[in-house]
């Protein structure tokens, strides 16, 4: 097993010097036209840059269509446009690589006790869990983490699989039969197991993910392809609009009898200004940055497609335990049997739990202390002998001299009491049932042959989770709680947590069926899972987040892995997915809105000689035709650089309805996109004139 510290990954400044240095170099390397071919918009810019460079060379030879310095200035800024876009992409990639590096560094190995043979008594050797190969045999004793997925070949033990199954009660794992599979990351609570490992190192999910983040072979996602098509369409429209301007201009010069046809340099400049270079240049950076943000959240996605799909999720299937409720239950009440005082029961319960280090045990001690003023006592002073939970007895307790205090499930205690010659009273059974029905877990306490009463253990809904679900609801996402509890219990917790729906007594088959039902209704379903039996459901879900602590099968079936194994992460994942799409949409809008101002800069500059009246369109009052065109081109290049931080960080997501979100983004990126370039182009023009560059 690996674990790592999250801080390593998160604290990365936007422009880390080492990444910037590498990105600058990459920006030039990416000028290779073969690389640009992937992106129709930027490829057009490449062709335009090359063409103007040619025009400049021609002008140097004395046959130019305009002043060589003007053509050179245009050519240079077109190349800059490309370089800036390349830089953005390189920055995003660089950050991804850096994150992969720190992931690898931060891997910390869990130690495993490797056995030479299959005998428990045989010599053990401490090795790193990550070095275990398929077929290796390991010994896992009480308190150890199971180092990998495997098969029990010897021993019986109680294992805490709550991280996987969501059930806080320990389960029994033993060799042979259908309880022999163990999962990496689960903890043996009592006894021991000999496990045969079933996976090889380097094949873990994490290993493959790191390889993917580093790999340059990033596949375009479906939405990216669709957007690319739209941008290519726009590019063709603008290519037509500018290319046809040459014949139009020739005709107009003849019709007006004055001026000269528009130069190729100006047409090329106009074309580059009009085609959506801002979004075109930042598109791949946005995609890569989306993956990066996932990694920053300690989630590794197998594909960009999964990240995108996360934004579309309509239904979240959430496991109750660990996500909605704290992983462990808490004692909330003591219900004494007839003829027993509640203080006596509390006392016995506390005594039985003093040595019990499980959260449930601690909560019993705390309840007894807080409610009945029973202070903790020193077990040694009492000459107490702690009886740990075992898979055989399924009880724990304490022996004080001749007093035998036990606590456990009703059936276990009944057996115990009867073996001591006692009787399990009917009223007590009723109390047990009442607690079950109320959504709690009953734990019976007995002393010898005398049942004393029941401890009421209850699931504790996590703080703030209800608000979180309300937020999701306002985003249009439905939450469904999945639990193994009975419907009554489930309903009680569902109401308390504020989920929209629940699935009680859920079997893996039920889960799968539920997902299919939602999908048949056209919904996209996200879920988390970690157990092997979750695999089919994970494979079926549109966004399937496997816990890193989960089984290999689960990780294979899912399309994301949460390194923190935090089921609440699903909500964050959805937000990152939405952010990715929003950034694309907003920058597309911004890019297209920008064109209006560019027309007002370039059209009068290009045609005022033919139709002087068109000078009226120069509403920005730009200095001269040359300065107007150059200013537009420079603005078009610089805006890419200005927007790199936004592309890398993403447009801020707010958990509000779609209508509000649209209004906000339209105002900022639509209206802003319309207005900003007017100011920007005017400012650049002013600077060019002030510095006598034009």
């Amino acid at each position: 097993m690996t674990s790592h510290s999250r801080q390593d990954i998160q604290a990365r400044p936007l422009f880390e010097p080492s990444i910037v240095r590498r990105a600058v170099g990459d920006a030039f390397r990416k000028l290779n036209p073969l690389h640009q071919l992937r992106n129709p918009v930027m490829f057009t810019v490449w062709v335009c840059s090359a063409a103007t460079t040619g025009l400049w060379l021609q002008a140097l030879g004395g046959h130019g269509e305009a002043r060589p310095t003007f053509i050179l200035a245009i050519a240079l800024w077109l190349w800059f446009t490309l370089l800036f876009a390349n830089f953005a992409e390189a920055m995003a990639e660089g950050r991804g690589k850096a994150q992969a590096d720190s992931l690898r560094k931060s891997r910390k190995d869990v130690q495993a006790k490797k056995l030479k043979g299959t005998e428990k008594k045989g010599p053990t050797e401490l090795v790193a869990a990550s070095s275990l190969r398929m077929g290796d045999i390991v010994l896992v004793e009480a308190g150890d983490q199971i180092p990998g997925d495997g098969e029990v070949i010897d021993g019986v033990a109680s294992v805490n699989e709550s991280a996987i199954t969501g059930e806080s009660a320990p389960v029994i794992r033993e060799s042979g039969g259908d309880r022999s599979a163990v999962t990496g990351g689960t903890v043996v609570l009592s006894d021991w197991l000999v496990v045969s490992i079933t996976t090889n190192p380097g094949e873990t999910f994490l290993d493959r993910m790191i390889a993917m983040v580093e790999g340059a072979k990033r596949q375009k996602t479906p939405n990216e392809i669709a957007l690319d098509i739209l941008l290519a369409g726009l590019t063709i429209v603008f290519l037509l609009a500018t290319a046809t301007l040459l014949p139009y201009s020739i005709f107009s010069v003849k019709a007006a009898g004055q001026g000269a046809p528009v130069t190729l340099t100006v047409l090329v400049a106009l074309l580059v200004c009009l085609i959506p270079t801002t979004i075109g240049g930042l598109l791949s950076a946005i995609g890569i940055a989306g993956m990066d943000r996932m990694i920053q959240a300690n989630v590794i996605a197998t594909s960009g497609r999964a990240v995108e799909a996360a934004g579309d999720v309509d239904v979240l299937l959430l496991d109750k335990t660990g996500t909605i409720t704290l992983g462990n239950r808490e004692a909330v009440a003591f219900v004494p049997a007839d003829g027993v005082t509640v203080e006596a029961l509390a006392d016995a319960a506390q005594l039985s739990s003093l040595a019990d280090e499980t959260p449930e045990g601690r909560s019993i001690v705390v309840l007894a202390k807080e409610k009945y003023g029973l202070r903790e006592r020193d077990l040694h002073a009492l000459d107490a002998h702690f009886v740990p939970f075992t898979a055989q007895t399924r009880m724990s307790g304490v022996n004080l001299g001749t007093r035998e205090i036990r606590k456990g499930a009703a059936s276990s205690i009944e057996t115990f009491v009867e073996s001591k010659g006692g009787r399990f009273p009917k009223e007590l059974r009723e109390a047990v049932d009442a607690i079950s029905k109320a959504g709690g877990t009953p734990l019976v306490v007995a002393e010898g042959a005398h049942p004393l009463g029941v401890i009421h253990l209850k699931d504790i809904v996590k703080g703030g989770i209800k608000e979180r679900f309300a937020e999701l609801r306002s985003m249009g996402i439905k939450t469904v709680m999945i639990t193994g509890d009975n419907p009554l219990t489930a309903a009680a917790i569902a109401a308390e947590a504020g989920v929209d729906d629940f699935l009680a007594q859920a079997t893996p088959e039920d889960k799968l069926k539920l997902i299919r039902e939602y999908q048949a209704g056209g919904r996209l379903v996200a879920m988390t899972g970690d157990g092997t039996n979750d695999a089919p459901a994970l494979a079926q879900a549109d966004v399937a987040v496997a816990m890193n602590s989960g089984t290999q099968a689960a990780k294979e079936a899912g399309n994301m892995v949460d390194l923190d194994s935090n089921p609440t992460k699903l909500i964050e994942i959805v937000e990152i997915g939405k952010q990715l799409l929003m950034t694309r949409g907003s920058l597309t809008t911004f890019s297209i809105s920008n064109d209006v101002a560019k027309y007002f800069a370039i059209l009068p500059a290009a045609f005022a000689a033919t139709y002087p009246a068109l000078g009226a369109l120069n509403i920005m009052g730009l200095h001269s035709p040359e300065s107007a065109i150059l200013s537009a081109v420079i603005f078009n290049a610089l805006i890419i650089v200005v927007l790199i931080p936004l592309a890398l960080r993403g447009v801020k997501y707010r958990a509000v309805g779609a209508a509000q979100l649209l209004k906000r983004n339209l105002l900022i990126y639509g209206l802003g996109g319309l207005v900003v370039p007017f100011a920007g182009i005017k400012a650049i023009d002013w600077l060019l004139v002030a510095t006598h560059l034009i």
Binding site: A226, L240, P247, A256, G311, I477, Q579, L580, I592, L603
Partner: protein, 569 residues
């Protein structure tokens, strides 16, 4: 101006009053439900199916549907072409019209089949009554039916879930003709005759003083040319001709007839997608664009011709005279009703004119030209307006959807790469035909020789021709002598690209959407029925239109308007 706006508002109110019952009626007809016309026309419909050897129920995939439409339209082109070539036969040909030259015949055949009705000929000087009836009137019906069919197929694509088919093309064509176009045309034709529109088969009248007055079965053709947003006049002067459009009331009928089906189809849409708000939203977007355009034209034309300001001419609007820019306009309509008509005919893909657009002020003429170039999506052609608008809606939903952080979806259908590809083609191809066609024409001396007005206006004439042909409008800056082989073939090609270059992608999208699952609406879904979305849709249409055509318009009407303004200052 107040007077003009009272008229404009009255028009909009009446339009709505007519469209509200018509929309659901069309939906019923197209979905095969019984209507009050079925007792009479039901047997006719079934008779058609029997003759054709179909049941009318077989669902077609989009490719089959497209093939059926293509075949039907090819037959139309062939029939109209042949009729013109054999029109010398003395059947319904009292004026002994001779056969039409091949290039003109081809142009006219394509023009009427594609719902363009660009006319490089003068009706009363070129065509026999038989050709007008059996060729042009028929295509006025069938091209409109084609538009409705394609639209309904697209709507089915949006409505159906994981379906293989998008309906039966034959049933769609026959139902829309039988139950919608024919009965309405009959009523409109008679209303027009009541106002003075002619409907006879007589020879031309020669008066005592020697004036020749053209005759013919005009009203029946005029009714469907408006109703089907075809626009091809029976006479050369089109709806400016007193026999087509004798009074201001007949003019109102003309205008209502153009818009009533496109408006009703928005409501048909709302009904068919089972969310009336969606239809209203599209209608609202169309109305916003239309009213904005109307305001500019009305203002520009009422202000009069700036070029005549220096002369002792009274252009001021008063009780005694309509005033304004009256060149090319009729007194009984005035600039108000002519501006309204011009805006309607170009917002729709009609192209009928009740005044000469060529003589509009540059600004007043820019608006119709730009409306055409926007793709005639503000109301638009019968069927074609709404399916064109839906293409823009897909683009709007795509960008808007991304901005709310979801894979874009429209009415629950995800808009993905295939839909974007097809919507882009549907928007791109017409732009290409307009811009490239104009580019070729301005470089060819044979084409520029046809220009009749000097300066930037000459450029506008050519740009208008290719815009009008490509977007299947049919109106013209009539000074351009378009009856030469270059324009007859070039514009015919533009019409085909503009018509089928949109129909095929639309049907492909219909097929693709129909095969998809639908995502239920949630709070996270981009709502497409709100004023905000209407704003987005309008912005997309205007922005795409502005960005594509602003450079060309700058060298045409914008330069002309600014120069003309400069002269008078």
């Amino acid at each position: 101006m107040t007077h003009a706006w009272i008229q404009n508002i009255l028009f909009l109110v009446l339009l709505l009053a007519l469209a509200v019952p018509l929309g659901p009626f069309i939906a019923k007809v197209m979905e095969g439900e019984r209507t009050f016309l079925h007792p009479v026309l039901g047997p006719v419909e079934r008779g058609f199916y029997r003759l054709m050897g179909i049941s009318g129920e077989e669902d077609m995939g989009w490719k089959t549907y497209a093939w059926a439409i293509t075949l039907f339209n090819l037959l139309g082109i062939a029939a109209v072409f042949l009729l013109q070539k054999i029109q010398a036969v003395p059947v319904l040909n009292p004026e002994a019209m001779v056969k039409v030259p091949t290039d003109l015949a081809f142009n006219t055949a394509v023009s009427f089949t594609t719902n363009t009705n660009w006319q490089a000929y003068g009706g009363e000087t070129t065509l026999s009554y038989l050709t007008q009836m059996l060729g042009l009137t028929v295509q006025n019906f069938l091209s409109a039916a084609t538009g409705i069919a394609v639209l309904v197929a697209l709507i089915r694509g949006l409505v159906r879930r994981t379906a293989d088919g998008i309906g039966n093309a034959w049933a769609d064509l026959i139902r829309s003709t039988l139950y919608v176009l024919l009965p309405l045309s009959l009523v409109i034709a008679l209303l027009l005759v009541s106002q003075g529109a002619i409907q006879n088969f007589s020879a031309y009248v020669h008066t005592a003083s020697g004036q020749i007055i053209a005759m013919g079965p005009a009203a029946s053709q005029v009714a469907i040319k408006m109703l089907g947003t075809n626009g091809g006049g029976f006479f050369n002067a089109n709806s400016a001709h007193p026999f087509e459009n004798p009074t201001a009331f007949s003019n109102l009928i003309h205008m209502l007839a153009i818009f009533v089906i496109p408006t009703a189809l928005c409501l048909t849409f709302g009904r068919m997608v089972k969310d009336k708000r969606q239809g209203w939203a599209l209608l609202a977007a169309m109305t916003v664009i239309f009213v904005g355009a109307l305001a500019v034209t009305t203002w520009a034309e009422a202000k009069g011709n700036p070029g005549l300001k220096a002369l002792p001419v009274d252009q001021v609007v008063s009780v005694q005279q309509g005033g304004g820019n009256m060149e090319g306009k009729e007194v009984r309509f005035g600039t108000g009703a002519t501006s309204l008509f011009a805006t309607i005919t170009t917002a729709a893909s009609c192209g009928a004119v009740n005044g000469q657009h060529d003589s509009f002020t540059p600004l007043g003429g820019l608006v119709p030209l730009w409306l055409i170039e926007l793709g005639e999506v503000a109301f638009g052609g019968v069927g074609s307006g709404l399916y064109g608008m839906l293409m823009f809606a897909l683009v709007g939903v795509f960008i808007g959807g991304l901005m709310v952080g979801r894979t874009p979806e429209y009415l629950g259908k995800k808009i993905e790469a295939f839909e974007m590809k097809m919507a882009s083609i549907a928007i791109l191809l017409p732009s290409a035909a307009i811009l490239l066609g104009t580019a070729v024409a301005v470089l060819l001396p044979v084409a520029t020789a046809s220009v009749s007005n000097p300066g930037p206006h000459g450029f506008t004439q050519i740009l208008y021709a290719f815009s009008s042909a490509t977007q299947n409008n049919g109106s013209a800056f009539g000074g351009l002598s378009a009856n030469i082989p270059f324009y007859n073939y070039g514009l015919a090609l533009a019409m085909i690209v503009g018509r089928f270059g949109v129909i095929f992608p639309v049907l492909a999208i219909a097929g693709s959407l129909g095969s998809k699952k639908a995502t239920p609406e949630s709070l996270g879904t981009l709502p497409t029925h709100t004023p905000l979305f209407v704003g987005v849709l309008v912005s997309v249409v205007l922005l795409v239109g502005a960005l594509t055509y602003l450079p060309a318009l700058a060298l045409g009407p914008i330069a002309e308007q600014l120069s003309l303004r400069g002269v008078t200052r």
